[in-house]
């Protein structure tokens, strides 16, 4: 069976699903990309059993069949010489011929019989959420960076999606900091009111989501959460860990509030981080007399910088991780940022005036002497 395809389009379909290929696996079948040809479409799928991505391209051949493509095919298409590519599949022995111009590859495909299918929940009867993908992208981006990458506390490898009355919220934390985004929107309700999505999956989803305005459907069925966009189906298994109640971590009233220019603060923190040392990247933050002072002193030298701020409440001094601070400053787009302090040993909370549903909390570094 011969198929003539647009090489660029073919490559981008493969590159989308490639993100779900496992780095290594004890199950050989999933280290391949599934090609499922049915009437009007070529469907490409890959999974690492935690996440599953399917992409699709139009095809007018009218035939059908399934085959596992070796993952090398993605690289082959990256270096392909021509705009058109011919796939020649032998259904008896799963040999594939990939040719175009001077290039001619013979690949060994394999039998797709054992390929897992558990991620398909498109036939779910439940009502999906319908949302603009640009908006979804910015919501996820505003919290996912706070989730933990360490394996020691599995619940914190997830982003918690929860709905309560007409509030839908996303929570991510690594126990040192916490990002929460709340949306007052009743169309945001998933059937089950808690879904703990692996942050890894969320980060991959971010790469797939485009900046253009297009609708996306979110589905939930048992322990699978799926996102359906134009030409791409992205599904992830949910984490089964219980997410701790973090509401107690957020204090009610601030003792000090400052308002300052976000960009200036970001630049200052980035400069301070040049001398901040160790894994804590600690800098000294002092609020005093309508000024914010950022200071570092380390083995390589010291620096200090002053920024004018609008201050409400008492003076305060504490130490914090520059990374944690710059992480939030670089994703916020608003010009002004509000930072609340809660006394000695209390957290810093970053807020945005234009978005009361957002908060980012950072716990300080305790100096022991």
């Amino acid at each position: 069976m011969q198929i003539l395809l647009n090489a660029e389009h073919f490559k981008s379909c493969l590159e989308i699903v490639e993100k779900a290929l496992p780095a290594r696996s004890t199950m050989p079948v999933i280290s391949n990309i599934l090609l499922d040809i049915n009437n009007d479409f070529l469907n490409f799928s890959a999974t690492n059993l935690e996440m599953f991505i399917k992409s699709r391209m139009d095809y007018e051949g009218g035939e059908s069949g399934k085959i596992l493509l070796p993952p090398k095919i993605v690289d082959i298409m990256r270096y392909f010489p021509t705009d058109k590519v011919t796939l020649d599949i032998n259904w008896d022995n799963y040999r594939i011929n990939v040719s175009g111009g001077s290039a001619n590859f013979h690949l060994y495909g394999s039998n797709p019989e054992d390929y897992p299918v558990t991620f398909d929940i498109t036939s779910s009867q439940k009502k999906p959420i319908n949302i603009d993908q640009k908006k979804l992208k910015s919501i996820i981006k505003s919290v996912v960076f706070a989730a933990s990458n360490e394996e020691t506390r599995p619940a914190f490898n997830g982003v918690l999606l929860s709905s309560h009355e007409n509030t839908f919220s996303l929570t991510a934390s690594d126990t040192y900091r916490l990002a929460i985004k709340e949306l007052k929107d009743d169309k945001w309700s998933l059937d089950d009111n808690h879904s703990l999505v692996p942050a890894r999956s969320m980060r991959e989803l971010l790469r797939i989501l485009g900046e253009h305005n297009a609708n996306i459907l979110i589905l939930r069925e048992k322990n699978i959460l799926a996102f359906q966009l134009e030409g791409v189906y992205f599904a992830t298994r949910l984490l089964e860990e219980k997410y701790p109640d973090v509401s107690g971590v957020i204090p009610n009233d601030y003792k000090t509030r400052i308002i300052l220019g976000r960009k200036d603060f970001e630049d200052t923190i980035n400069r301070a981080s040049l001398l901040a040392e160790g894994k804590n990247h600690a800098v000294n933050i002092i609020v005093n007399n309508n000024q914010l002072e950022v200071k570092v002193s380390g083995q390589e030298g010291s620096m200090e910088e002053m920024l004018p701020v609008v201050q409400d409440g008492e003076d305060i001094e504490l130490f914090a991780n520059t990374r944690f601070v710059s992480d939030v400053l670089k994703i916020i787009e608003e010009q002004k940022i509000i930072v609340d302090f809660h006394g000695d040993g209390g957290p810093l909370i970053f807020r945005i005036d234009e978005d009361p549903g957002y908060l980012y909390l950072v716990l300080p570094i305790k100096k022991l002497n």
Binding site: E150, T152, R153, S173, T175, Y176, L178, P244, V246, G248, V249, E277, G278, K279, N280, A282, Q299, F319, N321, G345, L363, P364, I365, K366, K367, L368, N369
Partner: protein
Amino acid sequence: MKKNRDILLCDLDAFFASVEQLDNPELRNRPVLVGGSPEGRGVVSTCSYEARKYGVRSAMPMKKALALCPEAVVVRGRMSRYKEVSLEVRKIFERFTPDIEFVSIDEAYLAVNKGFGCDIGNAIHTAVREELDLPISVGISVNKLLAKIACEQAKPNNTGTLWPEEIEGLLWPLSVRALPGIGPVAENNLKIIGIKTVKDLTLYSAESLSRVLGNNAVTIRYYAHGIDDRELELEHEAKSISEETTFPEDIYDREAILAILMELSAGVGYRLRSSGITAKTVTLKLRFKNFKTITRSKTMPDTVCSDSEIYRSVKDLFIVHCGKPPWRLAGVQVSGLEQGSQVSFLQAAHENNRENQLTAARDKLRKKYGSEVIIQGKRLTRRRKKET
């Protein structure tokens, strides 16, 4: 070596013994031996100047030392106390210069501005004597070699100089043993070819000396002329903190080992807290009867600095990796060090405030009265067993 600097070698005299005499006035002016017990494999680690008169030297078996000086008082070493005192001394050094090479717990090289060596040397000597009531000797010169020799000549409890212009008069008459790198064997071999003093060394070419001294000949000949270009090895930030102990006799009892590990954990924890550091990884070290040594580590999700957190990890490691008794040595090490402690809200929720208060109070006591002033009840089991 930077030319515009004077180099000082500060050496606390009979340090461990001096600390014992400081803490126990009844030991003053008496021969004191610090070290292991005479019944076991104990050796003298330090002896007071009073004991040196009897021919007692460091590293001598305790049995032999007591035979030479039967009226000597034998004291078990209290390493954590010595470290505390050493830190106090260090603070005095740091008043005068940031450029310090700490050679050991009782010895350090200091680099100071040229021309200030004598003044600073005397000031350090006075400060240590007046503030800490400890004897210290200071050698002052322009390089490590001459400072070291000046210090040896000045001992005990004094300051001395050995400037380059004094080499002929002061260094050359000394025995070759005064130079680092010449031990009893080399001394003897040199004697055979007629070299006894440092001056004799200068009369021979490096080539002819190399037959006796091997590769060291060139360096030693430079030393004989008072030339030494070794730089000070300034301290880098510690990568780990550890304490270990070799037992006087092999231990068979698991509970006894755990009690020792608790003691070691407390020592490591105290040092962490007193320098404001926390650690992410805890390592257990065990040596068995046959000298086989293992180290096993555990990395925590959050950094730790409390005695109980360190001990808990060490104990977990011990339970899994203890192997077959008897054990010969046990050690506790922490690494993955971090200034300060990033607060986590899980930790904050679990944080046992009472334990924190207890640790803070205990640290204060230890700082004031030494590490033995307050101990965990579990450690008594070991003491009692030792006594019976």
